[in-house]
């Protein structure tokens, strides 16, 4: 089992894509089983026994596991009994626990990942590439995944996995390759290095920590949510099906599985004060997206009120809320934060077209907007040769810096920061954390949603756990551990998280931990 580590943007994914035939190398060779090969494309890679599990799953939600696995590989074992038998065989051999007739939309993230792995094995892969397989999992699921991977290894398969989480790399890999800025900087084995040394290899310097030291929380409420509830429904809702109803697996409660009429957000209430960072932990798809959408005004909740700085904004459209001081760092920047084919200066206008310096009256003030873009590029260290290049030609981290710079430039009263440092390199990460901290000192309230538990614990003044659209637990970031949070994120613990022993039984329908 070989781990590739490196900070974001170091070239890990590019390397893996090259292995999988999605890119052609300019120079150098790839050897599989001692034989130098030229991989023409993904199909060729599969034929050579290389399979890839992408970070973003490539599954059709409305098909069953069996159908997803056989899709595109019908020639191997057909689509009927033989295929089912083969799937069960593989599943049993590596204890993947895959059920072939369940709809993928009823599966949780960890289950989907197992389906992806099975899909690759079904196609005869002997070398598995996993691109950041643990990014979307909670700690307990990570352990289960590594257990599966060890099974694969013991059967003689090769596993390459990409990660930037050093703890897990050290605990599971046999060999570690560290890459930085596109080149290999070290090849080590877990026995040789400590976590700290590995981190230093990775970034070339010491890792920053997201710690927030002094508290700046005031008693003036900035954002108050009261009994916010949102049920799935409307025109796009699928026909009601109760497939997820009786299942016992906690992961199966992701929102994708929610049948029509079920609650995506269930009676959510909290207050964020000026100068406070409220962190929300949760497995992706448990209502975080809906919560953000409701606060920003893209979704109208079925009931409940939203107050921003004392004013009821529940009925306000998005633009009015943003003008009133709502900053937004979206979780999916390509979908919600940026116009990929537009130049940087137009992206600087996006979301703030009605505010200075972007416009005067109904007219755009292109000159001022451009000048301000230059300023943001300078101050936020956006690495770009100019402001006329399209956003698409910047790396993800630099796009993120532009977004953060843009949002911060309007001095938001409340910043919704969803995965603010996802995909940015370590240096930029520290910078973004600093900016959030600084604005918080000046009285900005922050709603922080992140999959990076260290970031959540380090930055937040208050922590809540969301599960199945409910706030099920709260925790004090000063004392809580990532493991405790992880337990609550799967729904296995609720209430106030003090120590692991205090957590009530799994799946209990206890009242949530609202104050």
């Amino acid at each position: 089992m070989h781990a590739i580590v490196g900070e974001n943007g170091a070239g890990k994914s590019t390397l893996m894509k090259t292995l999988y035939g999605m890119h052609k190398p300019d120079e150098g060779t790839i050897a599989v089983d001692g034989e130098t090969v030229d991989i023409a494309g993904p199909a060729d890679a599969i034929a050579r026994g290389i399979g890839m599990v992408h970070q973003h799953f490539m599954l059709a939600d409305n098909l069953t596991v069996l159908e997803n696995v056989t899709l595109g590989a019908e020639k191997l074992y057909g689509i009927g009994g033989r295929a089912r038998k083969k799937i069960m065989e593989i599943s049993a051999a590596y204890s993947l626990g895959v059920r072939p007739d369940v709809l993928v939309e009823d599966l949780g993230v960890a289950d989907r990942q197992r389906v992806e792995i099975l899909k690759v094995l079904y196609r005869g892969a002997r070398t598995l590439i996993l691109d950041e397989p643990t990014a979307v999992l909670v700690p307990q699921e990570v352990d289960a995944l590594f257990h599966n991977l060890r099974e694969l290894k013991s059967e003689g398969l090769t596993v390459i996995f990409i990660s930037h989480k050093l703890g897990e790399v050290l605990s599971v890999a046999d060999d570690i390759t560290v890459i930085r800025r596109g080149t290999t900087v070290a090849s080590v084995t877990p026995g040789e290095v400590t976590r700290k040394q590995l981190a230093e290899l990775m970034v070339g310097s010491e890792l920053p920590t997201p710690e927030t030291r002094e508290s700046t929380v005031t008693d003036q409420p900035m954002l108050q949510l009261e009994h916010l509830t949102l049920a799935e429904g409307g025109v796009s809702a699928p026909l009601a099906h109760t497939g997820a109803g009786g299942t016992t697996l906690p992961e199966s409660a992701t929102t994708e599985t929610v049948a029509a009429g079920r609650k995506l957000l269930d009676d959510i209430s909290f207050t964020i004060h000026k100068g406070e960072v409220l962190g929300i932990a949760g497995v992706e798809g448990n209502g975080q997206t809906e919560l953000i959408d409701a606060i920003i005004g893209m979704h109208t909740p079925d009931s409940g009120t939203i107050r921003l700085d004392g004013t009821d904004v529940s009925s306000w459209p998005v633009r009015r809320r943003r003008e009133a001081g709502l900053g937004y760092i979206p979780e999916d920047r390509h979908r919600h934060g940026i116009l990929l084919d537009s130049p940087l200066w137009e992206n600087r206008i996006l979301g703030h077209v009605t505010e200075p310096p972007n416009s005067r009256g109904f007219r755009l003030d292109i000159k001022a907007a451009r000048a301000d873009t230059e300023r943001i590029v300078e101050e936020y260290d956006v690495r770009t040769p100019g402001i006329d290049v399209t956003a698409a030609s910047l790396s993800g981290g630099n796009q993120q810096k532009l977004i953060v710079g843009r949002e911060m430039s309007h001095h938001p009263k409340l910043l919704i920061a969803a995965h603010p440092t996802r995909g940015v390199d370590v240096g930029a990460q520290a910078q973004i954390w600093d900016q959030i901290r600084e604005a918080r000192r000046e009285g900005m309230a922050v709603l922080l949603i992140s999959a990076d538990l260290d970031e959540l614990i380090g930055l937040s003044d208050t922590l809540r756990v969301i599960f199945g659209g409910k706030l099920v637990a709260d925790a004090d970031p000063a004392t809580v551990t990532p493991e405790e949070l992880g337990t609550a994120m799967t729904g296995a613990a609720s209430g106030h998280l003090e120590t692991p022993d205090d957590a009530p039984g799994a799946g209990a329908d206890t009242e949530d931990g609202r104050r």
Binding site: R319, P330, G337, L339, L350, V353, P385, G386, T390, A392
Partner: protein, 374 residues
Amino acid sequence: MKNAFKFDRERLLLGIAGPVLALAVAFALSVLVLVASGLDPIEPFQIMFSSLQEQDVQVLIVNQWATYYLAALAVAVGFRMNLFNIGVDGQYRLAAVLAAIVGVKVSAPGPLHILIIILTAIVVGSIWAGVAGVLKTARGVSEVVSTIMLNAIAGNLIAWMVLKDQFGEQAEGSNDLTTGLIDESGWFPGIKVSDFAGEIYGFVFIAAAVGVVYWYVLSRTRFGFDLRASGASESAAAASGVDAKRMVLVSMLISGAVAGLAGMPELLGGTHTYSSNFPVGVGFTGITIALLGRNNPIGVAFAALLIAFLDKASSQLNLEGYPAEIAKIMQGLIVLSVVISYEQVRRYGQRRQQHRVGEELAAQAKKNRKEVSA
């Protein structure tokens, strides 16, 4: 700023590369079609180009340009926000027939009479397009489907309206049904070129002015920014505070209004009546032109000129024994090659830009490192 200039020039070059490539491919394919049908592959083009020297053909092209330009702008407004208004043709015809009817029924002094006719056309065009807009925002009906259907409805409505029982008139000794002739006060003054060549419609200048307004609104106003943002990424626009539904409705209304104007050069400058000879399919040609001109007001102007040329110059072909349909085939081929070549050029440009951004950053990083070590 030096860099900015470099990138801009490159974008311009790539912008021109797309249509040039498309036209070259379309030309080559047309030659193949001619060869395949056993005709001289070059002479038809020579005939078309030489007809350009004739003054009457020139006037015809310029007049046709106005209609095409307006129709293409109507399509382009939709395209800029990812709305596919296939109904420009129906909107344009319905607007023309109702404007003609109103023009006949109303009598007013010159400018006012013209204004009433134009306003009627704008309102009718917007309403007809607005139906599709409302259907989309209220019920989620795809505008592609609804506008196609509205085209059919408009066609039948028009056929019914020009019947003699309604508003139609039939000149003696003619089978042609018309809506009657608009009084001369409702004729848009033109520029007379010569007795032989006729006059250039005054509405040509209005069409050009609409192009300027289109450019200004789209690239210089908040509204235009919102519209373009919606087209570039609906989700990002929504997050930025654009009311998606309102935007769909408003841009459909604008698209329809411009479509309504498209009938005006012909009605006010040429026929002064709506008859069964009134050109059909202008809206579809508009789609071709908007595609070829990349929804850019200047690009569309050139594209409209090219298509108008193909249209008018091809009538010479019949006289020389070649089928005039060659021009139609060529138009179709242009659409095909435009779609393919633009995507190719776009991808190439994006790759190239990414490459260059990477290169420049690497160079910068190297320089910084040297400075640090020095």
